[in-house]
């Protein structure tokens, strides 16, 4: 046993040195004559190659009254191209064992595909065909819209999915580009013409980012990408919308779902953008507040009281400032207790701040989790490069992360807790059996609105 112990001691001494930094693997960035930006990140290992193509604009670019247009356009890319019918595209993709997804977030459309490295050429051909040559056949457009309308309805059968859509409409409001979730009415207004027009305007060189990450030959892939994406018309870069702020707080939306046996609720206030200089410090604070299992919220609402299966907080990091949101659920009878408790935790963070020990723990947690969250797989790395480009960051986003974490002092963190985790002017969204919680939730906000989950759509008149 002695030798084992000694051996162990040596090994553990070696292992006990935590990495002082993490580094993004090497990559190249090239701007094609038409403005398209091409990133190549070779990373030998698992023989997979990941394509990630971004089209700037995202949900923000949905024209008024056509919420969902960005996402439906993305979905239809594979449903018929100049060279392939929808069925042909699927057959070829599936035969390669490839994956292809297309969707949208607040600031860009993202087309992601992944293939075995040996299929790089075939995978690129399929992916580029969808992005560059979609024809949006009328019959496919009709099918996609009808399916999305039913999807919006089906979301009402899943309270956790539904509350997020209601939240978006209620928190940001109709004047904000993020305040328009796709719903039955807006989807029904989308036509083939609006889709084709959208693609023509936005799927252009000046608006496109093309990323390849994984195990591949850089020279060959670079040449193929350059050739393929040079043919895109340069077009006009998307003009980001003017500044907009969420609706003022002090409002509560109650969504009635009479068969619910538990109440789902979100409590939010305005937060920061993806590029805010305080983002690292706020991520640390959010980790402690509701970003991990031992967080203040989960510890109080789950571990100490058994009120819920989970309580958390989210820090949106988008192009424009988003929300800091408390999110949880509890059985109908304990709605008030859980909401009061969540608010009390918020109050304590705001007034008392955090301790040096908590800050050290959050720092270690963020550093420890980061490699497997952001740097392990080709798709994670491609996603990071996309953010660097769209948000105007640089490789320091990764390479300097640990030093940014180290630089956050207790004093500064507590000043930020006071500034960003406020107790007043909060926005509440509550989904549950309204007949049982209506009287209870009135006390949380001077303005209370109510809607029924059985009604179409997610937006309610906010004034």
């Amino acid at each position: 046993m002695k030798t084992v112990t000694k051996f162990l001691a040596i090994l553990l001494t070696l292992a006990a040195t935590a990495p002082a930094e993490v580094r993004l693997p090497k990559y190249t960035r090239e701007v094609l004559p038409n403005g398209a930006v091409v990133y190549l990140m070779p990373k030998p290992g698992v023989p997979l190659v990941n394509f990630r193509i971004l089209v700037k604009g995202g949900v923000e670019a949905d024209p008024g009254g056509l919420a969902g247009l960005t996402a439906v356009t993305a979905q239809l890319l594979r449903s018929g191209t100049a060279r392939r019918a929808a069925s042909q595209f699927s057959a070829e993709l599936d035969s390669l064992g490839g994956t292809f997804t297309a969707g949208a977030n607040e600031q860009y459309t993202v087309i992601g595909s992944e293939f075995l490295s040996k299929d790089l050429a075939a995978g690129l051909d399929l992916t580029a065909d969808a992005v560059l040559h979609p024809v949006f056949p009328e019959s496919e457009v009709k099918k996609a819209i009808a399916r999305n309308v039913d999807g919006a309805r089906a979301a009402k059968d899943n309270p956790q999915a539904a509350i997020g859509q209601y939240f978006r409409a209620f928190f940001y409001g109709p004047a904000h580009p993020y305040g328009h979730p796709a719903e039955e009415a807006s989807l029904t207004r989308i036509t083939r013409e609006s889709i084709a027009d959208y693609a023509k305007r936005l799927y252009v060189g000046r608006n496109m980012v093309v990323i390849v990450a994984g195990d591949f030959d850089t020279a060959a892939a670079g040449a193929a990408l350059r050739k393929t994406f040079s043919e895109v018309p340069a077009g006009t870069a998307y003009a980001w919308a003017k500044d907009a702020t969420p609706m003022p707080g002090g409002r509560l939306l109650l969504i009635d779902k009479p068969d619910a046996t538990q109440t789902y609720f979100e409590i939010a206030q305005p937060g920061i953008s993806r590029t805010d200089p305080e983002r690292t410090a706020l991520q640390l604070l959010n980790t402690l507040f509701g970003g991990r299992f031992t967080s203040l919220l989960n510890d109080a609402l789950r571990v100490n009281s058994g009120l819920t299966y989970g309580a958390r907080s989210m820090l949106d990091l988008n192009r424009r400032p988003g929300a800091i949101t408390i999110s949880t659920y509890t059985r109908t009878e304990t709605t008030e207790k859980a909401m009061d408790m969540a608010l009390d935790i918020l109050k304590r963070l705001n007034e008392n701040g955090i301790s040096a020990e908590q800050l050290a723990s959050a720092k270690a947690y963020m550093k420890g989790m980061y490699p497997t969250q952001a740097l392990e797989t080709p798709d994670q790395l491609a996603a990071m490069l996309g953010d660097i480009e769209v948000f105007g960051l640089n490789r320091g986003e990764v390479d300097d992360l640990f030093s940014r974490i180290d630089a956050v002092t207790l004093e500064h963190a507590n000043a930020l807790a006071k500034k960003w985790f406020r107790q007043n002017d909060l926005t509440f969204v509550v989904l549950g059996n309204a007949s049982k919680v209506r009287d209870v939730v009135k006390k949380y906000a001077p303005v209370v609105k109510e809607t029924k989950a059985s009604e179409p759509g997610f937006a309610v008149a906010v004034n």
Binding site: L12, P19, G45, S87, Q88, A91, R153, M369, P371
Partner: protein, 439 residues
């Protein structure tokens, strides 16, 4: 529309995918300790992190009426304090060291999953060994955790149309075998578990000889084995859980279940009894799953979602379970579509599979999808730890992971037809439908 016609007529030739399962990853080192603990180690220095998984061979199949759900409840209790590390310490110490964890319980196993930087390796061994042998049972914590589990049930079953229908479907498909009851437990049992139930469960399932430990990541074999010897080898073995005696009697006629609930859209589940994970037919059933539901070119997606537009989505699950389980189809009919219609279409496609040989290209496509999917699960240290443990426990040998491509490759069109004909029989079928109720 000329180009489309051309595309459809252009016959597709599907090349076979070559195996790459073993090529890219380090060798798996296997050890069995004197106390029966099986240890699997795979070094991977891509990221400075480790995935440490403990597969305990105990799940809801080891329960009995009155204590259903106790395996899952116990999984929660494993985080609530032992001898050296008290309440909350497992999570606090782990997160402080940069790690995070989770756990899951199925009908067959309870699995604890730890992800952390290599610097926390010894701490994790210390804490896992502590809770494997010296768990504490605090009555106050038991009561609080009961509330947490009930909330989990309310979220995943009572307020989830899919969860509710699935529970009722299983209860109808299994009349005798423990797969009859839900992993989370019946509500009345959740309310009634006692301290003695928990203690008995601990004694039955939590011993090194009932466990497989998998370590994948930035470690060396020597480092892991030194820690294993120090922390896990001293833990004594115990008698393994009693064998499951009850076998599900053969089903001799279709069973139908209806759930009425407020809903926007109906839901449908169609289940057939199939053999256990070690049966060679299981791989054929997985190929059938891929043929019918993997990708938009699959038979059910292209017919039901795309062409006929009768379903919002379709899925299938070729379950791999320790005892004979279920192959389950799931369908969300579109609004205004009578579930009788989606059911009829599904049965037609199943019948086609029973009557006609699938074309070679279509079969190869399904196999390629399975291999690529399999391969993608190996991208992360966590994915690999889970697959190694799953193959060891459910297939009897982790090495089968590296030959699974050959098993898939060996499946023929005749196998597909034979297996479909054998199991997808009307008499062997349970049909569960959720019908939206007026508000």
């Amino acid at each position: 529309m000329r180009v489309f016609l051309f595309s459809v007529l252009c016959l597709l030739s599907v090349p076979r995918m070559q195996s790459m399962l073993r090529a890219q990853q380090g060798e798996v080192k296997s050890h069995v300790l004197p106390n029966g603990l099986k240890v699997l180690i795979q070094e991977d220095h891509n990221v400075p992190n480790v995935a440490l998984y403990f597969f305990y061979r105990i799940g809801s199949r080891n329960e009995r009426p009155g204590t259903t759900g106790v395996s899952h409840f116990f999984e929660h209790m494993m985080f609530n304090g032992a001898k050296k590390f008290g309440p909350k310490q497992f999570d606090n110490e782990m997160e402080k060291a940069g790690g995070s964890n989770n756990a899951y319980t199925t009908q067959d196993v309870t699995v604890y999953t730890d992800w952390f930087p290599t610097t926390a390796l010894e701490l994790m061994f210390d804490m896992e060994a502590d809770r494997m042998q010296n768990l504490a049972f605090d009555p106050k914590i038991v009561e609080s955790e009961r509330g947490v589990v009930y909330s989990e049930r309310r979220t995943s079953v009572d307020n989830s149309n899919g969860g509710l229908l699935y529970e009722q479907m299983r209860a109808a498909a299994f009349t005798a075998h423990p797969y009859h009851w839900p992993v989370v437990g019946w509500p009345s049992d959740i309310e009634s578990w006692t301290m003695d139930d928990l203690r008995a469960h601990y004694k039955t399932g939590y011993a090194p000889n009932n466990c497989v430990m998998v370590v994948v990541g930035d470690v060396t074999e020597a480092q892991v084995m030194a820690l294993t010897k120090k922390y896990l080898e001293p833990i004594p073995q115990q008698p393994p859980p009693p064998a499951i005696r009850t076998k599900e009697p053969e089903q001799n006629g279709e069973r139908r279940v209806t759930v009425r609930k407020q809903a926007q859209l109906p839901l449908q589940l169609v289940a057939f009894h199939v053999p256990d994970a070690k049966s060679p037919d299981t791989t054929v059933l997985e190929v059938i799953d891929a043929l019918l539901t993997a990708g938009q070119s699959s038979r059910l997606y292209s017919r039901m979602v795309d062409k006929d537009q009768v379903a919002l989505n379709v899925g299938a699950q070729a379950g791999r379970s320790l005892d004979p389980g279920l192959f389950v189809f799931s369908v969300t009919p579109r609004s205004g579509v009578d579930p009788a219609r989606t059911e009829k279409t599904l049965f037609e496609e199943i019948e086609r599979l029973r009557k006609e040989n699938v074309a070679e290209d279509e079969l190869t496509k399904a196999k390629n999808q399975m291999l690529a999917q399999h391969y993608k699960q190996l991208k992360t240290i966590a994915g690999r730890a889970n697959l190694l443990g799953t193959f060891e426990v459910f297939r009897g040998d982790y090495n089968k992971l590296f030959t699974s491509d050959k098993d898939i490759e060996a499946v023929t069109a005749a196998d597909v037809r034979r297996v479909a004909a054998k199991y997808f029989d009307e008499k062997n079928r349970t049909v569960a439908t959720l019908i939206p109720e007026a508000k």
